[in-house]
């Protein structure tokens, strides 16, 4: 039942989001015609292309036409490349997905031990250092961090390539090297958020009666922390993981441009600049579905993490 409810909600979200983005894109001044034909095209050639692309049709007609195609699994054809948008997105999706997953691994891989250690020693040097580091990372734009990391790890130490992308199917090792810097750059900001959240929730949890009881029963501090306190303290963290997906996708746009990665974010930005409306629409659908699905998965994870929620 909950799945049906979520699916209905997803459809409503999709229709609203895609219509708004379609309308907003069409409000932008400029059109794809100059991008396709160049400056030296005649007025007749431009008018013909406008007709061919259907840009002379009213906005609502074009939207419904696109929506009808989408229901049949057709994302439309790119104005610029004249290739199916679905195929273009499918080609870019693995890059962005890998980047997102790797960034989350970096963020969580650092945030959980650091957050736990800071909570355990709340107010002491490590905790204060974490606070300072968090603010530093949160206030550093990803493009600055990216350039700094390239300078240190690629230019000075030359341990990873500065830019470029090797698909995982071609060479796993080289794929890892091409994703490591972008993932660290993207994951650092998330690490700061996650570590702060976990620390705060853990400190609160460690004040709970059942923790006092566990201590009284003689359980070791490490066991109490990792077995009994961490799971119930992770709810805010899990919520943040779902909600931050939007911020992460926004970050991939910059990261993909900076590191020369052929992902969905870069495709969408390029398509906005070239007024390739249908490609942008396809990207919007993909992100909307991804966002809703991830947050649905987050809801399911709540119950797995904290049995009290399942019972409720």
């Amino acid at each position: 039942m909950i799945v049906v409810h979520r699916l209905v909600r997803l459809l409503v979200v999709l229709v609203v989001v895609t219509f708004l983005s379609f309308a907003l894109l069409n409000l932008l001044p400029g059109d794809p015609v100059t991008q396709i034909l160049g400056l030296s095209a005649t007025e007749e050639a431009r008018a013909q292309l406008v007709r061919e692309l259907g840009l002379d049709q009213p906005l609502l007609v074009r939207y419904l036409d696109w929506l009808g195609g989408l229901l049949g699994g057709d994302f439309g054809t790119s104005y610029i490349t004249r290739m199916p948008v679905g195929g273009e997105l499918a080609g870019r999706l693995p890059v962005t997905l890998e980047l997102l997953v790797a960034a989350q691994i970096v963020a969580l891989g650092l945030a959980i031990p650091v957050g736990v250690a800071a909570a355990r020693r709340a107010g002491r040097a490590l905790d204060q250092a974490l606070t300072a580091l968090s603010f530093a990372l949160l206030s550093t734009p990803v493009f600055v961090l990216g350039v700094l990391l390239i300078l240190v790890f690629a230019v000075t130490w030359q341990v990873v390539p500065a830019t470029g992308w090797t698909p995982i199917t071609l060479d796993l090792g080289w794929n890892l090297t091409s994703v490591v810097l972008p993932a660290i750059t993207l994951g650092c900001g998330q690490f700061a958020v996650y570590a702060r959240l976990l620390r705060t929730d853990l400190i609160a949890t460690l004040q709970e009666d059942y923790i006092t009881l566990a201590r009284a029963r003689g359980l070791s501090p490490r066991r109490i922390l990792w077995r009994h306190a961490l799971r119930p303290s992770a709810i805010s963290l899990i919520t943040a993981i779902g909600l931050n997906l939007g911020a992460l996708i926004g970050g991939t746009v910059i990261i993909e441009t900076l590191f020369g990665l052929p992902g969905v974010g870069r495709l969408i930005v390029d398509s906005i600049f070239s007024r390739d409306y249908l490609t942008v629409q396809g990207g919007v659908v993909l992100i909307s579905v991804g966002y809703v699905v991830v947050n649905f998965a987050v809801d399911l994870v709540y119950a797995a993490v904290d049995p009290r929620i399942r019972r409720a």
């Binding site: 001044p29 396709i36 007025e43 050639a45 610029i80 390239i150 390539p161 052929p262």
Partner: protein
């Protein structure tokens, strides 16, 4: 449960360390024993470009500099340009005009095949030119062409509706690039997988990531190409592009940043810097709409030119690396004519503005800029300089698509602009001739909408008169009229476009044309391009 953790962790760490060791998977054809004295066969080049192509089909896809870099390794033109700026046959053996220059006979070079095995013949060249004539991309440029004929299997006759002296130059670009019949019948495939007669064969293309081409073993120019493989890597961010070169991730980059020229130029043992020059360089300017107030008044336009301190702009924006422009052609061009430009003189600017204000009231207008910081800095400089002369300028940001749309429809007063990099002055015909100036609201290729009979007559003479002296005189008149009427406030010649390469990359800008002439080193703007067939990689 815990037993597997340690070995697994070690294995993962080992994989990551191995991957991070900088040892790229072995590529075929790595350079081997290149002699220090001359070009060596073999090797792989990684070449970073600032943007991806919109497609590789010269008939259907609009080509920018990066498109020429990539597709130029595979598809060749009928004509090329030599180091002196003159046109020379390439796939064509000869191009001969009739006495009136309203017919051109193109003799196709024999013994050339496309990589799909089809021989290059006159009917294929004719089919290509016909497709170009039909293409909406080039309809305006090929406007004077009446018809194509095939007098014999290796000859194409181009019949024009007016004399056209510089016609061959147009065949040195996208319009003259020849593809096989299969590409003409299947343009979609040709957009993604180009086929041609060129020194390299298409191997792989991943949009927004890379294009890989490999040596064409049956290339018609004996002994070429030298390289086995080229990977073009798309790296849009200029700073990371330069950092990737420093890190050794690529062998050469295209750039237009003055800091790259300064930095890499100082490291002569490690890098070579090749800058574009002459007619290939575009001009940075402010485009003025002469059809709307207040810029329909030539006194206001002249005042803006007087108020523009080009040297300050150049020292601020380009680190002093470029030269001031006073017209569409630089001083090292054979077409340049000196004198008459309203050079910086704030007193004259102020006096002119006061004169106009006395008649029409305060002068104010909107200046459009793209939002990137460097362009905005230039626009803000102009705003400040023009304010000192008494003009109130409001800056409006627009992205590239919006800015271009406004320019061609006349929905602007002034905008920042970069243009004029044709090899022959006739290449600027459609942008300046009054026949292409349309009213505000209509599409106008003459974006300043300046209608000047003298200027247009001079452009017509330059197009139709075969006498070099008459042409030179005509284009001197063009420059004189532009300086008199100021539809453009020129700032500088953008010759910061450059290719920066490791010193082991040889042959950039040193290619020789099929008949032995030295070719034009670099062309295109803002980042230049060059042929790759004669590039080679030395040991160091």
């Amino acid at each position: 449960m815990k037993r597997w953790r340690m070995p697994a962790t070690l294995a993962l760490a080992a994989t990551v360390l191995l991957a991070c060791s900088g040892q790229r998977p072995v590529e075929p054809g790595a350079p081997s024993g290149a002699p220090a004295t001359g070009p060596a066969q073999g090797g792989r080049l990684i070449y970073a470009l600032s943007a991806d192509a919109n497609g590789f089909n010269p008939v259907t896809d609009q080509f920018a500099a990066q498109s020429y870099s990539m597709s130029g390794t595979i598809i060749e033109p009928l004509v090329s340009v030599d180091a002196d700026g003159g046109w020379k046959p390439y796939l064509a053996e000869s191009l001969t005009p009739n006495q009136k220059y309203d017919e051109w006979t193109i003799k196709v070079r024999s013994g050339i095949s496309f990589s799909d095995g089809i021989s290059l013949t006159g009917d294929i060249v004719k089919a290509n030119l016909e497709a170009q004539k039909r293409s909406p991309l080039t309809a305006a440029v090929f406007g004077p062409i009446e018809s194509f004929e095939l007098p014999d299997p290796m000859t194409v006759k181009v019949v024009l509706n007016q004399p056209w002296v510089a016609f061959p130059y147009y065949l040195a670009a996208q319009n003259g690039m020849i593809v096989p019949p299969s590409s003409l019948t299947d343009p979609k495939t040709a957009s993604l997988k180009p086929v041609g007669t060129g020194p390299f064969l298409f191997k792989e293309y991943v949009p927004d990531n890379r294009m890989v081409v490999t040596r064409n073993p049956r290339y018609w120019r004996q002994g070429l190409p030298y390289l086995d493989e080229i990977e073009f890597r798309i790296l849009p961010d200029s700073q990371t592009r330069a950092q990737t070169l420093e890190a050794g991730g690529v062998d050469a980059i295209g750039t237009s940043r003055d800091e790259d020229l300064t930095k890499f130029g100082a490291l002569k043992d490690a890098y070579t810097v090749h800058r574009a020059g002459g007619m290939a360089v575009a001009e940075y300017m402010f485009l003025l709409n002469t059809a709307v107030a207040p810029l329909d008044d030539v006194r206001v336009r002249r005042a803006l030119a007087y108020a523009t301190d080009r040297k300050t702009v150049i020292s601020t924006l380009r680190g002093g690396l470029t030269q001031p422009a006073d017209g569409p052609w630089s001083k090292d061009s054979p077409w340049y004519a000196a004198g008459g430009y309203p050079d910086y003189d704030l007193a004259k600017a102020t006096a002119l503005i006061k004169e106009v204000e006395a008649e029409k009231g305060p002068i104010s207008f909107e200046l459009i800029s793209t939002p990137d910081p460097n362009t905005m800095q230039g626009v803000e400089l102009a705003q400040d300089m023009w304010r000192k002369a008494g003009v109130k300028v409001t800056i409006k940001q627009a992205d590239q698509a919006d800015l271009i749309n406004r320019a061609i429809t006349g929905n602007y007063a002034a905008t920042v602009w970069t243009q004029f990099s044709a090899q022959d002055p006739d290449g600027e015909y459609i942008w300046m001739h009054q026949a292409y100036a349309k009213p505000v609201g209509a599409i106008s290729l003459n974006m300043t909408r300046l209608k000047d009979a003298k200027l247009s007559a001079a452009l017509d003479t330059g197009r139709t008169d075969p006498d070099p002296a008459a042409r030179k005189s005509a284009y001197a008149t063009v420059q004189e009229r532009l300086r008199e009427l100021v539809p453009y406030v020129f700032v500088d010649h953008l010759d910061t476009g450059a290719i920066i390469a490791k010193t082991k990359v040889r042959g950039i800008g040193e290619h020789v044309l099929p008949d032995g002439e030295k070719g034009l080193p670099l062309t295109g703007s803002p980042v230049p391009y060059h042929p790759f067939g004669q590039l080679w990689v030395s040991e160091r």
